[in-house]
Every structure is written in structure tokens, then in C-alpha cells.
């Protein structure tokens, strides 16, 4: 996988030297994104009702949420839409609540994934809303298996944001065998 990614990076004529400066986390990806025209970074408006996620980020997460949490696919269409909306809102809330430095790093990652050509090179995905679950899984797998720390970091943060934002929703508790707040105490304090 890694070798394939390396050759794709080479073929795209991207500054491979920058890729090798591992250990700087997402700042690397930023360097890369900053070098490309059209990567304006953080100047676009958030999507309606959201504080941080832009329309392109919503497309990314809408695509990967069902691949990360298979539980979503076991539910009715109406439930799926509701859970998807809540998960996106939770991801948005987490991102918006971070300090400026962390928000900046995430913005760089999301911008990187929003640029068509670069996204295709780095993820193998053309448009998020047209990607198959196999393509999306391959993207996550490749990033997490990569020897580039930046891609590991990106793969981790996407998976964790999605899983954590999904399983804090009370409607998902039963699916994991969590009965919810300890009943006796919950009743007593809410009496």
C-alpha cells in the first residue's frame, strides 16, 4: 500500500521531500496544500447550521461515517438520516470547541481532502458522494498503514472523530449493550 502511495506521490510530481519530514503531524499536509492554487484555507463559510465544517467537509464525513460505523447501515432510512445529522453536528461541535491551533490543523487536513486532484492522489477518491465503500475503506486503510506519520494522524483523527461522535448519541447505546445512565441514580436526581 505504502509503496503504491509513494509512487502515486512521485507520479503527481508533488514535493516528496516535504512528505518525508515526518513527525510534524498535519503541518506537513498544510505545507503541501498551501503550495497549491485554490487552497484558500479557512476563508470559506461553514455549512448551514454548523460552526466549523464547510460544505466540502460535510461531503467527506457524510461519505465516511457509514464506512466507519457499520451500525448506521442496520437502521431505517429515517433513523439513518437522523443519526447522520447528529453525528455531523457532534463532529462540528468538537472541532469548533478546539483551540485555534488544533482548529487550524484540522482545517488544513480538511482542505487537503477538499482539493480534487490532491484528494485523488492521496485517497484514491474522486468525489466523496460517488465513492464506493470499498474505495473509502481503502483510503482509510492506506492512510493508517502508511509510514508517513501525517497520514496516520489524518486517518486516526477521521476515524476517532466519527466513532466518538456517533456513539455518544443515546439512540446508539442499545446497539452496544450500554443501558444508559445508571437507572437508580438517574431517576433519583431527576425526580
Amino acid at each position: 500500500m505504502d509503496r503504491k502511495l509513494d509512487s502515486m506521490v512521485d507520479a503527481a510530481g508533488l514535493p516528496r521531500r516535504d512528505f518525508l519530514k515526518v513527525g510534524l503531524g498535519l503541518s506537513l499536509a498544510v505545507t503541501l496544500a498551501g503550495a497549491l492554487p485554490g487552497c484558500s484555507g479557512g476563508t470559506k463559510a461553514p455549512a448551514p447550521d454548523l460552526a466549523f465544517l464547510q460544505p466540502g467537509d460535510v461531503a467527506l464525513f457524510s461519505a465516511i461515517i457509514p464506512v466507519v460505523v457499520l451500525d448506521l447501515g442496520t437502521r431505517s432510512t429515517a433513523e439513518q438520516q437522523q443519526l447522520l445529522r447528529q453525528t455531523l453536528a457532534n463532529i462540528d461541535g468538537t472541532c469548533a470547541g478546539l483551540d485555534a491551533h488544533s482548529r487550524g490543523e484540522l482545517r488544513k487536513l480538511f482542505d487537503l481532502l477538499a482539493i480534487g486532484t490532491l484528494r485523488y492522489v492521496l485517497t484514491g477518491v474522486g468525489r466523496w458522494n460517488e465513492a464506493s465503500s470499498e474505495q473509502l475503506e481503502a483510503f482509510l486503510e492506506r492512510w493508517r498503514a502508511s509510514r508517513f506519520a501525517t497520514l496516520n494522524a489524518g486517518g486516526n483523527v477521521l476515524v476517532r472523530l466519527v466513532a466518538g461522535s456517533y456513539y455518544v448519541i443515546p439512540a446508539t447505546f442499545a446497539s452496544v449493550g450500554y443501558p444508559g445512565p445508571l437507572e437508580a441514580m438517574f431517576k433519583a436526581v431527576n425526580a
Binding site: 513527525g23 510534524l24 503531524g25 498535519l26 503541518s27 460552526a51 464506512v67 466507519v68 460505523v69 457499520l70 451500525d71 457532534n90 461541535g93 468538537t94 472541532c95 469548533a96 470547541g97 478546539l98 483551540d99 485555534a100 491551533h101 488544533s102 487550524g104 490543523e105 475503506e137 482509510l140 493508517r144 498503514a145 506519520a149 496516520n152 494522524a153 486516526n156 483523527v157 476515524v159 476517532r160 472523530l161 466519527v162 466513532a163 466518538g164 461522535s165 456517533y166 456513539y167 455518544v168 448519541i169 443515546p170 446508539t172 447505546f173 446497539s175 452496544v176 449493550g177 450500554y178 445512565p181 445508571l182 437508580a184 441514580m185 438517574f186 433519583a188 436526581v189 431527576n190 425526580a191
Partner: protein
Amino acid sequence: MSFPDLYTEGIASGWKVIDAARLTGARTLEADVAIIGSGAGGGVAAEILSQAGLKVLLIEEGPLKTSADFKDMQEARAYRELYQGGGPGKATSDGAITILQGRSVGGSTTVNWTSSFRTPEPTLQHWAAEREVTGHSVEQMKPWFDQMEQRLNVAPWGTAPNANNSVLQRGCDKLGWESHVIPRNVKGCWNSGYCGFGCPVNAKQSMLVSTIPAALKNGATLVHRLRVRELQHANDQITAAIGDALNAKDGSTPTGVSVTIRARHFVAAGGALNTPALLLRSKLPDPNQRLGKRTLIHPVVLATAVMPERIEAFYGAPQSIASDHFQWKNGATGAMGYKLEVPPIFPGIGSAVFNLYGRELQQGMADFPHANAVLALLRDGFVPQSEGGSVRLGDDGNPVLDYDISDYVWDGVKRAWLSMAELQFAAGAKAVRVAHLDAAAYTSWADAKKAIPALALKKFRTTLFTAHLMGGCAMSQNAQRGVVDSQGAHHQIANLSVLDGSVFPTSIGANPQLSIYALTAQNATALAQRLRG
């Protein structure tokens, strides 16, 4: 049964509590002592200084959230309202180490898991012998531990451990490893497990329900949603603190209202990230460049197990058993020591810790009620190969923590993984997975023992956490080695003390809350005498 809200009643009876978000114009507040930060250090300092008859102003950047706000017992609300950066989203500068730190009145004491250990004797001995610290020997600290244990009702947990903690106890027993019952700061505890989301029955004796109400009864003023931007100074004296009121909507955007605080003495108690950041923003003298250096974090690594029995690691006192078997094995300065404990596991943070997706996550979550997790707190800062990290200022003036993992620490990580897996299998685990991207779910100790040493010791492949932020304003009698002296007095600024976990010259080697309480009680008592003298 009803659970009265301390603050609703207290404010009605005349407690002085100001929500800075609601101020409509600039203000000047005056006091004998202004304390910046209301966590373990600020809370204890507020009670002791107000008890001494001093007029105290206690300032908190986060919101005032009380038991009435904790009744939903939900993770999502807690992370959003009570933690820095929304809980598990906050991390070191490179994103490699997740930081869990409180951010509301009471600081991390509002959300911690109640483990209350005395500072280990070898740690205190190391400070005296190696870091030029005086006045905090084992004998000198004893009365302060006694006092704070009594004040906060600290006692070894008297109820049977929950199943998650039982795994740790059983594993240690089978292997002949040391383990002990954890002392907890609780009174009338329901054994529910929801300490991390704010105690809804005020059983946890956090600063929110103990020292801060006592200080308010003594006439202190609490100002919340006020971020102190800067300590103004002239001629080695702080002349004023300037704060920005934060809005109620997101809790972090300034409303535009600024508050000027004048006091005879200032106490920095924002913890190991925010105190160094405040001093850095204020450009206080730092002739030896010690400010923000040697930030210690007890790097945490984890292993999760699937047990044959139901564990329900979400219910029951979250931490009641610990093991120091590997803590001092090699002395204070040998190969890295670590303390073994368990974390509670709720679906949100649990799924994020699993760091799996697709079929593997689905399987992991299907086994959720059977999940046990063990964590190792690595004791950093005792040898030159473990100097900790450093705090610098981000573009917005907030602290950013750089923390690299040295080979010495990685060696500790690897040994800790092996210990945890061995322990979990000894306790009967069906499968164990250490929190690493390349780790499989091992089904026997033999498999784990073979596979774990081959895991790449790299950031991002390894899941790393911290919930214990220490250092960055280290105490030392030698001004070249510390920001403050052993009593917390700033080496260069006459009317500034630091009374929080940032003064620790090494990590503690145990959950630090009681260490902060006792050291602060001792140093705040000395400060009260000095200010009244």
C-alpha cells in the same frame, strides 16, 4: 430524595458570584489576593486565604456548572461543557497525545475519577535530592496530607471494586504483583461511575463542592467566564491583571468587556498548561528560560481486553484498584516506572480509544459490555532522557504543548503494554489488544508476548493520552532551575505565587490531585501568614 444545588442556595444566601459573560461594561475588581484558576490549586488556596481573613477574588475561565447541570449523566454534554477543547478532541501540538483536562469552576477536580494518592515518598525524596526543593520532605508533608484527606473525606474505597477494577486486582493476585485499594475523595458516593461527567449528587469532594463554597461563605468573590489575558507588571511587581469576559454561547469568544483586577498579591493556579501560558503572555522575567519547560504528563498507554464475563466498565466507582508493581522496581531513576490502573469505558470515548472502523469497530462495540481496559501512567521527568515537553503560545495566545517521546519513554511504553496484556490474560481475558494501529486482538499471552515487542514505537501508530498535566513552572530553591521557590513564590516577581500542579519538578508517579491539594495547603498557609504579617 432531593439533591439541592449548592450554588442556587448559596447565591440566594448572598454568595458573591459574577458571571463575566453577563457584564455589560468594563469593570475594576479589587481584592487582597486574586487567584487565577479554580482547580485543585486555586480551590484550596481560596479557602485557606479567605479563612485567614483576606479578601479573595477567585477567577475561572470556564463556566460555573453545578450538580443541577450534571443530571443528564451524558458524555457528550460533559465533554462540551466541562473539558478543555471539548474533551478527547484536545491534543499536543502534533496531535499525537490526547489531553483530557477540566475547564469549569473546580477545574479538573469537577471531572476527575477521584483517585487520591499521597505523593509517593521516592518522588518527594527525589525533589529534595535532585531538584533543590526544600520544606516538602515526607515528614514535613505528612500533616498537610492528613489535613487535606480529612477536609475532602479521602479514604480507601470501602466497597467491592467494580468488575473492571476486579480484572486488575485478580490479574495482580494471580501473578503475585502488588496491588492496592485506591483512596477516593467522596462522601455518600452512589458507586455509579459518572465522576467524569460531573457528580450529580455532590458526593465527589471536588473543589466545586468543598473549598470553593467554603471560600464563598468566607466572603470571597468568584468570577467565572473570565480569561485573564495578562499580568501587567512594573518594578518586579504585578500591578494588575487584565481579563476578557467570554460569551455564554461558546464559552470562548470574548464579549469585548474587559475586567481589570487589582490586588496586593496574585496567585497563578491555572494548571500546567494555562499558568505557564499566562506568564508567557505577560512577558514576565524568565532570565533562565525555565518558564513552560519540563512539562510532565504521565503519558498513558492502554490495552483493552474482551473478558468472558460482563464487565460493564461504565458502572461503578471508576478507579478503586491500582498496582505499583512496576513503579519503583528500578528505583526512581532506573528504567521508566509506571502505575497500572483502569479507566471507565463509555461508548463515546471507548469507541474513540478502540480507534477501529468498519467490521473491526462493529465487533469491538458488540463486545462492549465485556470490555475491560487497563492503562499505564508512565512516570516522566526523573532522568535526563525524560525531560518532558514544553508549553509555548499559539497564535491566539493559548498554550500549545510540544511533547516528544524519547527512546527511554518508548521502552517504558513497550514494557507497560507487555505488563498489561500479561495481567489481562492472567485475569482470564479471551482476547487482548494494545492500543496501537498494528496490534491484532491476541488470544493468548504467548501470542501477545511475541507480537508486542515487534510493534513500531511511533507516534500516531501508538494511542497516547494524558490526563495529568504537571510542571512548566517548576519549584526549586535554585532560580536557575525553577520559576518559583519551594513555597511557590515567583523568583523574580515579589507579589506573585504559583499554587498548582505546574510547580511540580517531576511528574508525581500517581494521580496528582492530592499532591496538588496538600502542597497548596502548605504553601497557601505560609502565604497567608506572610500577607497578614
